[in-house]
Symmetry: C2
Subunit: 517 residues, 2 copies
C-alpha cells in the first residue's frame, strides 16, 4: 500500500474512479482495503454475480478430479484401479456405443458432397443428403441457415411430431432447431426474465431431483428456482399436492411463471402416466404456468407397462382451454438410441405463443446466427429415418434395436444390483439413461464428511472415485430431500464394463459401511 497510498487517498473521494493507475500497483481502492484484488479489471467481487453462484454438477469438481486421475494413470501413477469409468454424464459414445451408420453416412455426404458420386453410399443416404443440401443456401453446409434452422428439416421435424402424436397437427414454423436441446431450453427460458412492478421476481418450478441445466440457467438468469419434490417412495412419482405446496409457498416471494417437467425423468428414470400428465397440465393451467416439457429421453422407455406420452398430445387431446396453453417441448440428438452428443442437434417445438413474443424469441436467437448445419442434419435423419424398402432400413433398425435392447437390459441390471447391495436402494429405471439410488450413510460417515467441510454425498462420491475410479455425480448436484443421500450413475457403460463397475460398487459400499459403522 505504501507505494501508492497518496494517489489512492486522492482517489478515495471520487465514486467514479476506483483504481490507482501507478505502474505496478493498479489496485482498486476497495482492494487497497481488503487486499483481494490484483489490479484486474474483472474480479470475483465485481463480475456477474449470477455466474458466480450457478452450479452445473454434471461437470463439477468431481469430474475435474476424475480427469486429473486419468492423466495420473496415463503418466504411470499406481492406483487401485486401471481406468476411470465416467458414469457421470449421459455420453453414450464416450462409453463405447457405436454411431448409427445411416446418421454418419448422411453427415459425411452433406459435409463432402463429392461423395454423392461414390457407389459406397446407399441411395437413401444420398437422397437425404441431397434434400438437406437443397435447403442450404448456395447448396453448401458452409452457409448460414435461418436462425430457426433449415426449412425442410423443420418440416420433417413437424411431420415426425405429427406422426408420433397420432396425427395431431404440428406447424413447422413452431420448430426451432438448436445446438443440442440445451440451447433452445435456455433460449425459451430467457423470455421469462423479469420482475413485476411490485418488485417480485419471476420463478420457474423444477423437480427435485432435476437435471442441473435448469438450476444453472435459472441461477444465471436471476430467476427464482421453485422446487417440487418427486416421491422416491412411489417410483419418483409426481404428486400434484406437492406441486400445489410448492407453488403456494412460492407465491409469497415471487411470480411463478413456468414449470419444468422432465419425462422420462433425469436423473430419476421414471416415466409419467397419461393421467399424471393430464393432472400436471390442469395444474399448470390453474396456476397460469408456461410448460417446459423436457422429453429428450422419449425413445428411452424400458419398463414393461411404461409408455411415453408427449405433453403436447395430452394437452391437445384435453381440448379447450388446455389446448391453447403455452408450451415448449424439446428433443436432442444426444440421447435416444443415437447418442450423438458431440454433433449438437436439438429442437424445440413452441406452441401457442403470443405472436409478438414469438417474434421476440426469433429475434433473440438471430444474433447467434444459426445452429450447426451438421447438428441439423443429424436431427433430420432422426426424424426421417430409413423406411421399409429403403436400402439402409435393415441395418438402421438392427442397430437401433440393439442399442435400445441393451440399454433396457442394463437398466434392469443396474437397479437390481443396487438393490442387492447393503444400505442402498434404487427405484426401477423405467426410462432415460440413469439410476439415482439412495445410500443410507452411517452417522460416522456423515460426521467425517462434515469434518472435511464436504456434503456427505460429495464425500461418498469422492471416496468412490479415489478408491475405484468410478465417477458418479452426488445427489446434491440434482437436489434431494434433506437428510437423504443419493448419486446419479448412467447406465451407459457397455454390459461387461457395467457389470464390473457394479461389482466394484458392491465391494466399495461393503467396505465403506464397515469402515464407518
Amino acid at each position: 500500500m505504501s507505494k501508492c497510498s497518496v494517489r489512492h487517498l486522492s482517489l478515495l473521494g471520487s465514486p467514479l474512479k476506483r483504481r490507482c493507475f501507478l505502474k505496478g500497483c493498479n489496485m482498486s481502492t476497495t482492494a487497497l482495503l481488503n487486499g483481494s484484488d490484483m489490479g484486474r479489471v474483472v474480479t470475483l467481487d465485481n463480475m456477474n454475480p449470477h455466474l458466480r453462484v450457478m452450479e452445473y454438477a454434471v461437470r463439477g469438481p468431481l469430474v475435474i478430479r476424475a480427469s486429473q486421475i486419468e492423466k495420473e494413470l496415463a503418466s504411470g501413477v499406481k492406483k487401485p484401479f486401471s481406468e476411470v469409468i465416467k458414469a457421470n454424464i449421459g455420453d453414450a459414445h464416450a462409453m463405447g456405443q457405436s454411431p448409427i451408420t445411416f446418421i454418419r453416412q448422411v453427415v459425411a455426404l452433406v459435409s463432402y458432397p463429392v461423395l454423392l458420386d461414390s457407389p459406397d453410399f446407399p441411395d437413401d443416404c444420398k437422397e437425404r443428403a441431397r434434400v438437406i443440401l437443397g435447403g442450404c443456401k448456395g447448396g453448401s453446409a458452409g452457409a448460414y441457415t435461418d436462425s430457426c434452422g433449415i426449412e425442410v428439416i423443420r418440416r420433417h421435424v413437424a411431420a415426425y411430431i405429427e406422426k408420433r402424436d397420432g396425427g395431431i397437427p404440428s406447424d413447422y414454423s413452431n420448430i426451432i432447431l438448436s445446438n443440442g436441446a440445451s440451447e433452445s431450453i435456455r433460449a425459451v427460458m430467457k423470455l421469462l426474465i423479469n420482475k413485476s412492478k411490485d418488485g417480485l421476481n419471476n420463478g420457474v418450478m423444477i423437480p427435485k431431483p432435476q437435471y442441473p441445466l435448469y438450476s444453472a440457467s435459472i441461477a444465471e438468469y436471476g430467476l427464482e428456482q421453485l422446487n417440487y419434490y418427486l416421491d422416491e417412495d412411489n417410483g419418483w412419482g409426481l404428486d400434484i399436492s406437492e406441486l400445489e405446496r410448492s407453488v403456494n409457498e412460492a407465491r409469497k416471494r415471487c411470480n411463478p411463471r413456468a414449470i419444468v417437467i422432465i419425462n422420462p425423468g433425469n436423473p430419476t428414470g421414471q416415466v409419467l402416466s397419461r393421467q399424471n400428465i393430464e393432472d400436471v397440465i390442469k395444474f399448470a393451467h390453474r396456476e397460469k404456468l408456461f410448460i417446459f416439457a423436457d422429453e429428450v429421453y422419449q425413445e428411452n422407455v424400458y419398463a414393461k407397462g411404461s409408455q411415453f406420452h408427449s405433453f403436447k398430445k395430452v394437452l391437445m387431446e384435453l381440448g379447450e382451454p388446455y389446448s391453447g396453453m403455452e408450451m415448449a417441448s424439446f428433443l436432442s440428438s444426444s440421447k435416444g438410441y443415437m447418442g450423438e452428443c458431440g454433433l449438437r442437434g436439438g429442437y424445440a417445438e413452441v406452441i401457442n405463443l403470443d405472436p409478438k413474443v414469438r417474434a421476440v424469441l426469433e429475434k433473440s436467437i438471430s444474433a447467434k446466427l444459426c445452429p450447426t448445419v451438421i447438428g441439423q442434419t443429424v436431427m433430420d435423419v432422426i426424424v426421417n429415418p430409413p423406411v421399409p424398402g429403403e436400402p439402409s432400413y435393415d441395418l438402421f433398425m438392427s442397430q437401433k434395436k440393439a442399442v435400445l435392447e441393451s440399454l433396457s437390459q442394463r437398466a434392469t441390471m443396474v437397479a437390481e444390483t443396487f438393490n442387492s447391495i447393503p444400505k442402498m436402494k434404487c427405484n426401477i429405471v423405467q426410462g432415460a439413461m440413469y439410476a439415482f439410488p439412495q445410500i443410507m450413510l452411517p452417522e460416522k460417515a456423515i460426521e467425517k464428511a462434515k469434518s472435511l467441510g464436504q456434503a456427505p454425498d460429495v464425500f461418498y462420491a469422492f471416496q468412490l472415485l479415489e478408491k475405484t475410479g468410478i465417477c458418479v455425480v452426488p445427489g446434491s448436484g440434482f437436489g434431494q430431500r434433506p437428510g437423504t443421500y443419493h448419486f446419479r450413475t448412467t447406465i451407459l457403460p457397455q454390459p461387461e464394463k457395467l457389470k464390473m463397475m457394479l461389482e466394484k460398487f458392491r465391494e466399495f459400499q461393503t467396505d465403506f459401511i464397515r469402515e464407518y459403522s
Copy 2:
C-alpha cells in the same frame, strides 16, 4: 369484460392472483383494463424487457422481406428483377464460394471414420482426422468434448497463434473453442453484467458503426452501450481523442469496463495500424478496460500497405504493465478464405484473467456442454493446414489464394464503383468483407421516409430491395453519425454477379436522385 367482471373484481384485491380463469376469458386484470392481453402467460408486457429492445439488423425486417420476395419470385410473381441478391450478410458459400476441399475431407473422415480406409482421401487428411478422433472420448465425434473443446485442437490453436505472433507464447489452456466466434464473444461479455454498489451499470465501449452482435448482446445483458465514432473522413480511422470523449461522457452515468475493437473493421473495412493499436491499448490501460479484440477478419486484408497486427502481439511487445492486461481475441471459421459459416467453428484466446474469474467463465460455459465437434474440426484444420510436402498442400494453397485474390479484386471494384456513382462515396475496403458507403440523400427523400415513419436509410434500402432485388443493411443497423446515411453491402457476390449488382445500383441511385431532387 362483462362475462367475467364479477370474478375479475373479486381478484382485483389480491396482488398475487392476476388472472381470471373463466373458460374463454383468462384475461389478466391489467389486460381487463387495457385490453392488450389474450390471456397468455408470457406477453410483451411481462416478458424479458432486454430481449424486446435488442436489435440485430443483419437479420432484421429487411432480410425477412427479402426472403418473402424470394418466395414470391419462386411462385411466379413478376418483378423488375429475377433474383434477390443477399448482400446483407457475410456468407461466402451462400454467394457461390466453394468450400476448401481439405477442410471438407477432414470433416467427412471425422464424421464417418469408415472412410479412413478409402484410397480417395489423401494421407494428410487422414492424419488430421486420426489426431482429432484420438482426442474424442470413445474415438467418436458423437461424444461430448470438454466444454472448452478438445485438448489437442486447443493446443493446435495455441501453436497457430504463437506462430502468427512471431513466437510470443500462447497457452492452450487460454483457448476456448466455441460455436462460431459469436458464442465465445457472448460468453466473455456475460462476465461483465453487474452494477456497482452506487447503482451504476457496467458499460462496454463499441465502435460506431459496429457489428450488431455487440449492440444486441449489450442490450440483452442490460449493459450500457458506449459509442465511439470511427472517423469516416479518415478512412474510418480510430481516433484516441474520440475514445476519450466517449469514456469521459460515459463515466457520468456508468462504469465503463470494456472496449470492443473490430480489426479489420466490420462494417467499415479499415485495418488498424500498429501505432493505432498501441494507442488503443494504452487508452484501455489508463481507463482500466477489458479489451475485446474482434479479429475474425485477420486473413482478410487486401489493401497495399495494410497489414494485420494482432492486439495480443502488440500488447505483449509493449511489455509491462500492458502485457498483463486482460484481453480476449476471437477468430471464426466463418470468415477468412474458408467462409464455413454453417459449420460453426470459432475460438477465443482469453489472457491475463484473474484465475478465479477464469474458473467462473469455464463453469458458465459448462452448462452448454460443448461446442460442436465438427466446428472444432474445422477450426483445427484452419490452424493446422497442409504444409509444403504434404499431398494436399498445392490444392489447398491454390484454393485459398484464389479466394483471397478474388476478394481483394472485388474489394477494389466495389469501392471504385460506388465512388463513381452520383451522391455516393465510399472509403477504400482495406480488409474484411464489406463496404459501408455513404449516400447523400436528397431532402425530399428524407421527408418521404419520415412521412412513412421510416428512417431515411431504411427507406432507401427497402426501395432498393423492391426495385432491384438487392438486399443490403441500412447504416442505422450499425450506427452512423446523426444526419449521415449509409448501408453495408458485402463484397461476396461472385465477380460477374457483383458487377451486375453494382450496375443495378448505379441505375437505382440515378433514378432515386432524379425522383427526389
